[in-house]
């Protein structure tokens, strides 16, 4: 992507889409509203993956931040009795950012398949800790997240309030994401994918660019995880399992890296297909996903926007 979206006013389509999504709960069932909110929250995690994907880095361990954000909210609600979102959400985001900063210092030296493997290992470490340390994390039972409040008030219709909370934060995340993509750091991240030597010879550091992106990515993904925790009302170790990371990568690749909206659109499509496919035929939805992914990989429709062609254009 070379044309900055920030310099045009937000496309009319995006505004209309938001308006439509905003009034949907009035017409649709609670379940569908829940699905949309869930998809948007997960979309934030996917955006985190996309920020790195633009640098040619696949994080196969982003479920780590998803789980950190979710469990931060989970601990707060379950162990400390604080269900206030205005405390939980910033806390989850900050903790995720701090962890991302620490781990980013390790990961920033890796590329390609080694980056993927190391990120996978780090997320699996969290998974094994969550599974085994029952007293700490509730083990495989997980933790229930009850007592959601917003600005101190317990909403009469928590689902609805959460819906608009997610929608508002999604808009914020999209704004931050768009600014990031149009910024020097955002472009430098793309540069990492194409030519690290040139970056070094401009006096900049590819590793530092990756670190910066990784921190922003971790923070956004952690926020997504925190939102999901409130939405579902429960957190469990599965959130950190590698297949969960795989799902985020799947949506990221499908949506492509060209637009800040793609992760959210892809996420909504994914959640709805998954929901209905699971009901209709539980043993074929993964197969469908897999076939879809293969089609995208082989034939490069808009979804795999630039990923294949750009990775193929290796610098000499």
């Amino acid at each position: 992507m070379s044309e900055p979206t920030i310099h045009r006013s937000l496309p009319l389509a995006a505004i209309s889409a938001f308006a439509v999504i905003a009034i949907l709960p009035l017409f649709l069932s609670d379940w569908i509203s829940f699905l949309i909110a869930l998809a948007l929250a997960k979309g934030a995690v996917v955006l985190g993956v996309v920020l790195l994907l633009r640098g040619g880095l696949i994080s196969f361990g982003h479920a780590l931040y998803f789980a950190i954000g979710a469990y931060a909210v989970g601990f707060l609600a379950n162990r400390f009795g604080i269900g206030e979102a205005l405390v939980g959400l910033p806390l989850a985001t900050i903790i995720s950012a701090l962890v991302a900063a620490a781990l980013g210092l390790l990961l920033m030296r890796f590329r390609g398949i080694y980056f993927a493997m190391l990120s996978l290992a780090l997320s699996m470490i969290l998974y094994t800790v969550l599974i085994k340390f029952y007293d700490f994390s509730g083990g495989t039972d997980g933790l229930s997240v009850r007592g959601f409040t917003l600005a101190g008030a317990t909403p009469a219709r928590p689902g609805l309030v959460q819906y608009y909370l997610v929608l508002g934060l999604t808009a914020a995340v999209i704004y931050v994401g768009a600014r990031f993509l149009a910024s020097p750091l955002g472009y430098l991240m793309q540069a990492v994918r194409y030519n690290e030597i040139r970056i070094e010879y401009l006096g900049a550091s590819a590793n530092h660019a990756i670190l910066g992106s990784y921190v922003v990515s971790g923070a956004i993904s952690g926020l997504g995880g925190a939102l999901v925790a409130y939405l579902i009302g429960h957190v469990s170790p599965e959130l950190a399992f590698w297949v969960s990371s795989g799902d985020f990568v799947f949506v990221a690749v499908l949506g492509g890296t060209g637009s800040v909206f793609a992760p959210f659109i892809g996420s909504i499509a994914f959640e709805f297909v998954k929901n209905y496919a699971l009901k209709f035929s539980p043993s074929t939805w993964q197969l469908t996903l897999g076939v879809f992914l293969l089609v995208v990989i082989y034939f490069q429709p808009q979804g795999l926007w630039g990923l294949l062609t750009r990775l193929r254009a290796k610098p000499q």
């Binding site: 390609g112 780090l122 043993s283 197969l287 992914l293 293969l294 990989i297």
Partner: protein, 298 residues
Amino acid sequence: MNILPIILIDGITFASWLFLVSAGITFIFGVLRILNVAHGSLYAIGAYLGATFILKFAGQEQHGWITLLLLLLAAIVVGLTLGPLIERLFLRRVYGEDEVIGLLTTFALFLILEDAVRLIWGIEPYLVEGPYRLFGRVRMAGIAFAGYPFLLTIVAILAALLLWFVIHHTSFGREVTCVINDREMAGALGINVPRIDLMAFALGTFLAALGGAFTAPMMSVEPGMGASVIVLAFAVVGIGGLGSIGGAALGCIIVGIARASAVQLFPEIELFVIYALMVAVLLWRPQGLFGAIELRKI
């Protein structure tokens, strides 16, 4: 009670179990430069097919050595059919692309195969304990161990020897080594690289299926077994170095001993140590213990 023999034996048998799958993955990476996420599914299919063969052909009692032959047969069938099929149809198109594309492709295959297994074999677990009972219990160092895992160790050692022999003493092995070192050059030297690719992937598939088949008597064969084993294999291969079979063997032993120690001393960190080890090794040597570094020229 002296736990050292327990740790050693437990560790070695765990390592053997893991070796079959991880040797396949690392070998395939060396030749095709693709990290095969679907390897876990091939392992699972080996287990399911092995279980099916035993249930169909070994009768109610699942007696006798024939069960072992059936397991081996299952692995061979998977290696000879699924291996070439997957390589030809799905992987061939993505050679020469970035390694990350290969990863995504095999991840897609993993998703497909996981459901394929569910569709073919259902979601109920399969239990085939016949071969397991065949080996009873063995006394070592004053402790009674189950006998079957030792068979697994023997199978792993035989597989390692077979691999070593094939690579160093057959023309196929020489050609494979050429391809591993330099694909383009190998082609220029007249080696039929596509054929080597096919055979290498089939061999790797066979190894995974062998691991699965011989594991079937030890645990219940159920959906999701592939997903859990693949991450363990990744850990081992990351430690040992992508492309190095010797590295995979060493990685297996390290992981096996570490895990066995944890089980005896501090059970909560049983799984944690494996990934912690992987992180530690990757931080110290990003390419793994025996992996190769790649430099760029300008």
